[in-house]
C-alpha cells in the first residue's frame, strides 16, 4: 500500500485521513454505520491501484474526490425513498424563527438585524470555531442540511442538486436560503456574538 519511491502512505497518516473522512461522511449522511461503509469503500478504491502521490495533500485530495462520489451515490439512493422538499417540524420551526426576525413591513427588527462579524476569516484558523461550525451544521434539519452540503461541500451547481434530488429550482433556492439563515444565526449566536452583552 505504498508508493514506489519517496512519499510513502504509512498507517499513522492513513488513520488521520480516515478520521477526517469519517467526520466528513457522517456529517453528510447522518448515519455512522453508513459513513463507515462509504469511507471503507472509498479507501479501498483509492489505494487499490497503488498510485503514486506527490505528497500527503495530493493523496488526500484524491481520496476525498472518491469519497465525495461515494457519498453522492448514497444520497441518490436515499432520495429515492424520501421527499427532500417535504417540510419536517424542524424545518417549519426554523422558518417560523426566520419570520420572527422581521417587523410587519418585512424589515429587520432591531434585535434581529444581522451584525458586522468583523474579519470572520480569522476564525477559520481557530479550532474552536470549527467545533461550533460542526455543531451548527448538525443542528440543521436533515433534508435542509443535505441540500446545503451537496451545494457547498460536494460543490454541485444548483441545477445538478435539483436534478439529483428531484426538486424544483425554486424549492432548491428556498431550502438553501433556509440553510444559510439557520447556519448564520447559529454562528452569530454561538461564535461571533458569544459573550457579547446584547441588552
Amino acid at each position: 500500500m505504498s508508493a514506489a519511491e519517496g512519499f510513502v502512505v504509512d498507517d499513522e497518516m492513513l488513520a488521520g485521513v480516515r478520521r477526517d473522512m469519517l467526520k466528513f461522511a457522517s456529517l453528510q449522511l447522518r448515519d455512522e454505520t453508513l459513513a463507515e461503509d462509504v469511507v471503507q469503500d472509498a479507501l479501498v478504491a483509492a489505494l487499490k491501484n497503488g498510485r503514486q502521490f506527490a505528497g500527503r495533500s495530493a493523496l488526500k485530495t484524491w481520496i476525498f474526490a472518491i469519497l465525495k462520489n461515494k457519498i453522492v451515490d448514497q444520497i441518490r439512493e436515499k432520495c429515492r425513498t424520501t421527499n427532500v422538499s417535504a417540510i419536517s417540524p424542524e424545518e417549519a420551526s426554523l422558518d417560523e424563527a426566520f419570520e420572527r426576525l422581521f417587523k410587519e413591513n418585512a424589515h429587520w427588527t432591531p434585535e434581529a438585524r444581522p451584525r458586522d462579524w468583523g474579519n470572520p476569516e480569522e476564525s477559520l484558523r481557530e479550532k474552536r470555531f470549527w467545533i461550533v461550525f460542526d455543531a451548527c451544521l448538525k443542528h440543521l434539519p436533515e433534508n435542509t442540511a443535505r441540500v446545503f452540503m451537496m451545494r457547498e461541500f460536494l460543490e454541485f451547481d444548483t441545477n445538478e442538486v435539483c436534478q439529483e434530488l428531484s426538486i424544483t429550482a425554486s424549492n432548491c433556492h428556498v431550502i438553501l436560503h433556509r440553510a444559510r439563515n439557520g447556519l448564520r444565526r447559529c454562528l452569530e449566536k454561538n461564535w461571533f456574538m458569544e459573550g457579547v452583552q446584547t441588552c
Binding site: F64, F133, H177
Partner: protein
C-alpha cells in the same frame, strides 16, 4: 422598493444563480441603504468560504497534532 426579507432571498440566490439585471439593481439599491442586509451578504459569503476551507482545516489540524 425591496424589503429586507426579499433582499435575503436575492442575496442567497445570488450565490446559486446569476441574478437578472433588474434584480441586481434592486438589490444594490437596497444594500446601499441597509447596513443589516450588507452584513447579511458578507455573512452568507463567509459561509461559502468556510465550507470551502472545511477540508483544508481538517488537514491543517491533523498535521499540527502530528508534528507536536
Amino acid at each position: 422598493m425591496l424589503s429586507c426579507k426579499e433582499a435575503t432571498h436575492l442575496v442567497s440566490e445570488g450565490l446559486d444563480r446569476s441574478l437578472t439585471l433588474p434584480e441586481k439593481i434592486q438589490l444594490e439599491m437596497h444594500l446601499a441603504m441597509c447596513k443589516g442586509c450588507r452584513n447579511l451578504k458578507s455573512q452568507m459569503s463567509f459561509l461559502r468560504q468556510a465550507c470551502k476551507s472545511y477540508l483544508a482545516q481538517e488537514k491543517g489540524q491533523t498535521d499540527s497534532t502530528r508534528s507536536r
